[in-house]
Symmetry: D2
Subunit: 455 residues, 4 copies
């Protein structure tokens, strides 16, 4: 999923980049980095883990000087800790340019691009598809850098929100379908970029000062200094008859206080909760949401249905992933530590559990079991999305197809697997209506339908 | 505030100790340690920061072998990072004994004890009052270790929940007033100890297998091996005509899923929310709780008052404390990162904000300002506790008297300071009734009354 | 200068590689690395500093598995700590091959090669000239890997001793002039490679089992397993009418117990000491050698001249470079800590100081001053090499031309600078005769003559 | 063995302390620390390994502020890495004083002192005998600190050179027999202390500005500031009819450029070499010294006997101890890496090997074997000390009695064990005469005689 940030024409640009990265921590916890340019040289600091882990003690001004910076938070599956060379931003220096590239998304034709690059003698340092961008730029025969970038982007198929820093400019672009969000904000004499608006908020930036990079748009920021503002120029480099914004961003991945594609994330989630309440009129004692990404859906379900919202499932926010060892007791207990339940609250009651989605079903299975142990008479599970039947090739590392429980099981089978008394999902039309896209012209719902988003 | 854990007659006892410490992380984030005994020697691992920071990569079996272990999470004010020698458990070896001591609480007569110990030539390694215990034990002339321990505890005045490990026994004790919680659970052939029941839950232990250490009680666990269960013996070493359980444990500090002194923490909080709803019948559009320790109070306030519960204040669970540098932008923004608010949700609305307590008022001031910026027409603040007018000398490091806003300001002055349209508190009788102690025979409410709890 | 090691068809080949690297520590202290192949994948561990710093705690078997390994110690000037990407072995993975490359030497046409590679779209990760090799190999259109390697080496001009590991083979090559040493040894069922023979000795390998890679020779080791020995095949890939072995290797850089190009290093040094004694018949009380690389020259000078060898200059073998801070006292004293002198030993005496070479003259200046302070009446300085007047472009990072004192000063001027009573050098014919090359057909003496070695 | 340093009335006293500690690295490589006082508080930094390991990156001014400092290098046997609490200086804070104590030596009655302290209720943090000092000081009933210190020292039996820092004074003392060296030097407005004079030299201090602390002397440095010099007062606190300086300090442990008890270390070693030459008139081709502590003995042996001094045994100064793993190949080879030999130098020759002492014989065995492998016809081993037959209880951690080869074997048996053609030792009168103490009134030679030094 990944988080991108950028800053242009800001004194010590790496510092706001760091703060924005921290605000986008939820988009990637595996590792990350920041690169900055002081006009002559691009420097970079990278590391594994959280932003606060790899930047603690780093003297930003000394290690990452200059008025331009880009940063990246990496998201990756199941703890498969990659090598340092997979961390972004990628930095490349050649005779004709120095660049740092940060990418959010997934290229469909990555294997083919890589094969072609290598057959021409390029050596890629990592296994990441994102690294194709600097190499495609390097191989381009265009003279003007912007045209090299456009040529590279036209060769890439799939989802990409990109920040590309040269020694003196900062480019931002989004693929023609607009799979992943990317925002721009004017700040002081400069310009900031971030995957989500929540990264701008702590800097005191108002909504009116932000705008989204449009699908197929390439923004170039240049010029400016301590007294004059940076210049923003934008152009279309690709067009498509419809867009394919990732609906999972709204349903699960983005922060509730962010805005994307004209929607407040929290509002979409409330509307999904409302749809659930209208579709499933169930008599229960309490509504419970699996924290934290289902809270808004749950609260709204409760207020629309008139059933009391009463959270009794508590989440330990310290993941503990890094220190639990893979031996018997530690593993068993480590997993159980994520959630705990309030004793007595549900004894003899019917509990309606709301979750934003159901991917592999393992968490929900544990939640149902915990509630039963705590005495719940009935456990109703309502999912504020349709069944996920197809894995995403455009940037969400959900799981392999085999792990997607709804790809191979009926709703009734899943209900039995998780041990619920009832299991209900929304439909694809439900969610499309909730985001104001009844005809499916705006959003990618490929994970729910299995249909290719644009072919 | 601190968290204690202990394990006796469990193979590799340090592993459950580690897991329980992790479950008590919220009781202390400054640092901690675990000591274990293999029957011959006491080993220890300590460190600053979270359990997952100081235990990551530690091979428990090799570094902390044996069937007995005690652990400690340290809580401390305002980032004042102490020295390694302040971290518990304290370990002491003398010709006649080896012990590890973990203490939760605060001794009233610490200065006097220290002065007396030093005048006799003892050298204390730290500035912690807890270190008095091993020295008092060492100076005792009694022959039987248990009697040394009792003599030491009788000299100590104030709040102490203690775990004391020798090479082959584990002692647990609580001062005569029972200020701080301490629990015991039978597990397999052994016995576990923890400050809160939430630490036992992930191990699969049922409520019926746990019991509280009573005020003035000393429990000694001994014997046992792979086949026979450990023996528990208990005795009273001190008595008092009433108890003084810390009411702040229930209102704020403990985990909602824990049980203490006959109460489920979440239930007490719901009752406090209900009292607020009955005391302040206010017309509002939405109820909002300051996450996370006020959630239950807020939910219940909403359900009793019939006003919609709608959370629009989001908390960043990564503190960032360690990596924010003390320079201009970083500091300003770092502080703002803790909370963010949902745009649009409160525009033109009356919001009722519930918080568990109001100590220094700085957080609430920020929350009210955020809500106003987000367009709230009216902000009503209701506190689910009485005004805090006196600092705690029995284990909660709230703040100095000067920082306690209610110690020096009237409710109206505080309302103006935080910028709310209305500010309401519960009364002391309210909270005593909510915990079933209308005559004040069980709980310490000294921070609300300023009266010494037992003199 | 750098050190190379390789191991083929040895179980856990990275372990002998590590031990040999440790034995070549004097060839590079800036950092290094080892790469190994388990037949399927090439793994690598790298780091800054000494071998014992970057390999301490590394589980060789787990991190660097397999029967093939190459390693590299990096040498670099004046503390200019490069980036991680400059450390070797370079590892590259493409669709058609995986390789690890370790290089000792310097390419004359590095800038041109780099320019050409980049103009074709290659991205080089580092600023090291050594990285040209993997890229030249990648760009080659040959099908057979060996031919790609040969094509790459033919494009490279200058000094290179190379080890190139693929998933299942190990190649070793030396440029046509033989600038840098590289040795091969049969060991058990496998083959080892190292820059100097001293790396083989602790493994119990005899001289009769070692041989040098010849100028212009490419050796390929393949096949073999636990029971059958690896196969060595060798061919000439380039020829030259003369060789250009670096004479500085013998005079200064190599370990005294190593053998190179038919010479025992210690013997060459003794012969240089003898030449000094014959050229400068000076009456002195004691002979002193600047430790450690001038010891043999000094001892022999003493025995030939009949003057007592008496060391009174002691070297602190802990460099302290990493911990001396750049503030007043620390800097001043830090520098003085390298050498100390025995009080009283030289009072009123004439001391003949022998050094292997004089590059920047700063050390000798300090030595002379120390001896004078210790009361020496006369200080005679004899250098067992000619004046260094030209910097080396083939692998020894001596200094920039400006720093070479003899490039811009006469012998008399240098004598005055260092404060000696007499300063004598050997001549170029002296040293060529000492290495049995009176006609200058074998050795590069470019640093003493300023003439290009082969143009 | 350990190294002590101190600095008084020096701005940022911890910096010269650090530089002096670095100069005393050879006295202890296990770990160390520095404590400083800024007049109000004593701070400390400690760590394992070399000074450059535990002080790299430490900001001296910030972490160790103030005008007084003491430091300590710890020496310990066979890699038995103790716990952090064993590292000195010990720091103790009580109501009446704050002190830091650094000790070089060994207390004979440590067990008894510890037992007595513990029976009175003191808790000692470490197993080090040095920790008795702060506790004895704390238990003293004297009012004046100096008298407490004297009382403590009178209770301690055995060898102690001590530095004791309070918040505003610095005390230095040596036991009545003067086992271990301790020096004082005036520097600027302040006073420095160090175990060896070699630590003063890089600071530019002349011999005339240094003096030794005498046996039974207590020096107190006080007063002084940026403008006035510190005041030194000295007194005798104990007396003895003779002294017992450790002769091993001169023969092996101290740096050759240091001075102790009226002797230049290098001169003593030359005299020992001369004695060897006079006692054993042996015909050989070459003289070889085991580097580095036998170099002076070897050189002098050569010049007196007229046999050529020709070093062909080379020592790897990187110990590698920390990174060699305990598996087959690594261990075998790791040990062999310490020394290597010049091929060809000794072929068919008679080599006279000089070593300063022979404790366990393992190193010499390896050396003889290496020389034989290199073709030596005859290997004569001459030891510049008498046989070591008794282990030292006064500060040199030589080995246990069982490991002392001469304690249980005759000279002829040892010769066979090490494989030499001849083995010769000096006698006790030889060494006493070499240090100008023919009647044995000054030096402890207990390790050669087995007699208690003063009972």
């Amino acid at each position: 999923m990944c988080g991108l940030v950028g800053a242009y024409n800001i004194p010590n640009a790496s510092t706001p980049a760091k703060l924005m990265l921290f605000g986008l921590q939820s988009r990637g916890r595996e590792g990350g980095g920041i690169a900055s340019s002081d006009g002559k040289k691009i420097n970079r600091v990278q590391g594994f883990g959280l932003v606060e882990q790899f930047l603690t003690g780093v003297k930003m001004k000394a290690r990452l000087p200059g008025r331009i910076a880009v940063g990246h938070n990496r998201y990756s599956t199941a703890g498969a800790k990659g090598s340092l060379s997979c961390l972004q931003p990628f930095v490349a220096r050649t005779a004709s340019f120095q660049i740092a590239v940060a990418h959010n998304g997934n290229l469909e034709n990555a294997d083919e691009l890589r094969r072609r690059l290598e057959s021409h003698g390029s050596i890629l340092a990592s296994t990441s598809d994102s690294e194709c961008f600097p190499h495609l730029i390097a191989r381009s025969k265009k003279r003007v850098f912007r045209n090299r970038l456009i040529e590279a982007m036209r060769k890439a198929k799939g989802a990409y929100s990109l920040l590309v820093m040269t020694r003196d400019k900062l480019y931002a672009a989004v693929d023609r379908y607009g799979f992943r969000p990317l925002w721009l904000a004017r700040w002081k004499k400069g310009v900031l970029f971030a995957s989500e608006t929540c990264a701008f908020a702590p800097l005191g930036i108002k909504r009116s000062e932000m705008r989204e990079i449009k699908p197929g748009e390439l923004v170039c920021v240049s010029g400016g200094n301590a007294k004059t503002a940076a210049k923003i120029s934008a152009r279309r480099f690709a067009a498509a008859p419809f867009t394919r914004h990732c609906i999972f961003e709204l349903m699960y991945f983005s922060q509730p206080q962010s805005r994307s594609w004209g929607e407040e994330v929290w509002e979409v989630r409330e509307r999904l909760g409302e749809r659930l309440a209208r579709r499933f009129r169930i008599d229960g004692d309490f509504v419970l949401a699996v924290p934290d990404s289902s809270n808004k859906q749950g609260e709204r379900y409760a207020s629309v249905s008139g059933i009391t919202f009463r959270q009794g499932l508590f989440r330990n926010h310290h993941s503990g992933r890094t220190f639990i060892q893979s031996t018997g007791l530690e593993r068993t207990v480590g997993v159980r530590m994520k959630f705990s339940v309030a004793e007595g609250m549900y004894a003899g009651k019917t509990v309606i559990v709301i979750d934003d989605s159901l991917v592999r079903s393992t968490t929900m299975k544990k939640v149902v079991r915990l509630l039963r142990k705590a005495g719940a008479a009935k456990v109703i599970v309502l999912i504020a999305s349709p069944p996920v039947i197809s894995r995403c090739r455009w940037g969400i590392d959900m799981a392999t197809k085999k792990e997607l429980v709804a790809a191979t099981h009926s709703v009734e089978e899943i209900r039995r697997m998780i041990g619920a008394d009832f299991l209900g999902y929304l439909t694809v039309p439900d969610v499309l209506e909730a985001v104001g896209d009844p005809c499916g012209r705006k959003y990618c719902v490929s994970c729910f339908t299995g249909k290719h988003p644009y072919k």
